[in-house]
Amino acid sequence: MSGTVRATLERASPARITRKPTRPQLIKASITTVLLLFALFALPELLSLYYIDTMTQVAVYSMVTLALGLLVGRVGLFSLGQAAVLAIGAWAAARLLFATTQPYPLVLLEAGLITMVAGLLIGLPALRLRGLYLALITLMLAGSITVVLATVNFPNGGHGFLGYNGGLLHIPPIRRPSIAASDPAYYRYSVVIAIVMFVLVLAHIKTRPGRAWAAIRQSEPAALAAGINIWFYKLWAFALASFITGVAGGVLAGAIHYLYSINFPTQDSITLLAVTLMGGVFSLWGAVVAGFLYQFLPALLNNWGVSADWLIILFGLGVLQVLTTAPAGLADQVPRDLRRLRHLLGRRLRRGPGGDGA
């Protein structure tokens, strides 16, 4: 019996024991906490309303890329239909917000669940396919959903199931929760919802479904041999991703007050996949980076008077760079390069300014 295993066995009581966090884990947790507190309390004080609105969008699209990253990075499913799934969530939430007086969190939950059902219906036949074919099918479905939404329009306070009142001059805005009516408050609200979604994904990754997904991604035969029902777990991933995207759609509805089908063009799905890959699909931070790339960068360029169309070229180069030098995305590459730089500087400094101090 090896020493390490025996030591672990002696520590382990038959009941479940909690594993002590290691030092890097503690450092990581404290950095995350500080960043979150900064984002929640300091940021709204520091930024102009323009950038606060932008940051709300960053929170929304971080959830969308979180869901897409889950599919691509954890399970190896390439979906090009996320913009349409987001539109379904936004549609469902807008309809519920106009038609009912339910509290906002409940509406978000319902929008998430409705989108989950829709996502499952899309996913069910699509799961028989893999790789390029799955991407193609989801893209086509996204296209058809966009057409349907363009025809029936987003609900804008009208009567009936569709709730569309086209001729109305004074369209009522989609309501926000009473505790988050102002833009800074709604930004904070969005960040909190995003945190909940990230925790939801983390809870999945660290437990049984996460292990099953890791096995499926590396080797389906190995997963089957371990007794994992591949079909069920892939569907689970699809359901979770759709739920999160639906909730994001609900947050988006309140953020921009008025929704139109032109907010969700099919090609957005492709850009979303590009930024998700650039941010990094193997780390949850990748989704945050992707949210910034997708929403903050265009807002910044816009503010500087530079056309955001340049981003299409930039994202193209970015994906190329990710595929060639950093498969785990910026979330992995930047910290790694910074560590390398610190080592390099440390060595330089130890040597002293006079050159070789040996």
């Binding site: 066995l9 890791a214 096995a215 080797s219 007794g227």
Partner: protein
């Protein structure tokens, strides 16, 4: 006891297994044969990855072929792969726990069971280590731990010693020898290393071009003229 009756597998025009009929008794049985003889195909049939054209497999009185593939691991079919398939992203512990949690064995004994399986293989690594950082021999042991955790009934080892240095192979032999008494599972070992097969298996069966050409006590089988011809290609 596993009874294989008239098992036939065809891939297009190629017959990988040709009416194979054989009974595996309790303990460790060897299954040998030249490359392409149908050994891995036989394992793939037992795992449910390949649907046979004809034949039946009864394992401990159960019709194995009618069971969905992912349910077989739950029932007790475990295997390792010719190209090792330990999940790199997960820790050693999680690799083994993954099998346990899908075997419907209950969570109360999971940690103890998983650590017991890791200890059984003599793997000299912290269970919390990520598999990505392990060497080839250690990864093989992770796969063996996955195969023995919980209550396996049938353990299939597909060339577990392929590519391992002698020292690690002899350690692996010791581990394989202890599987039947430790778990009570019937173990089938496929390998080209005849010293490993001789050391671990009381009985051995030989496949060549999908046909069973010999079976019986290992020493006698390895001296069989037909077996020597199949391996050396002598006319």
């Amino acid at each position: 006891m596993i009874e294989v009756d008239g098992l036939t597998v065809r891939y297009g025009g190629v017959t990988s297994l040709d009416a194979m009929s054989l009974t595996f008794e309790q303990g460790t049985c060897g299954l040998i044969g030249p490359n392409g003889a149908g050994k891995t195909t036989f394992f793939n049939v037992l795992s449910g990855f390949v649907r046979p054209a004809a034949g039946a497999v009864r394992a401990f009185g159960v019709d194995l072929l009618s069971m969905a593939h992912y349910r077989r691991a739950r029932w007790g079919v475990r295997r390792t792969f010719q190209t090792e398939q330990a999940i790199e992203e997960l820790s050693v512990f999680d690799n083994v726990a993954m099998v346990h949690e899908h075997a419907r064995l209950g969570g109360a004994s999971r940690r103890a069971d998983v650590l017991d399986a890791i200890t059984f293989t003599g793997l000299d690594a912290d269970p919390e280590t990520t598999v990505r950082t392990l060497g080839a021999g250690q990864r093989r042991l992770v796969e063996v731990a996955r195969a023995v955790v919980g209550r396996p009934r049938l353990v299939l080892l597909d060339e577990p010693a392929a590519g391992l240095p002698d020292g690690e192979t002899s350690h692996l032999a010791e581990v394989i020898q202890r599987i039947p008494e430790h778990t009570g599972a019937l173990t089938i070992l496929v390998d080209h290393d005849m010293s490993l097969v001789s050391a671990c298996c009381a009985t051995t069966a030989v496949l060549d071009f999908g046909k069973l050409i010999a079976s019986g006590p290992t020493a006698a089988v390895l001296r069989d003229d037909a077996v020597i011809r199949a391996y050396l290609g002598v006319a």
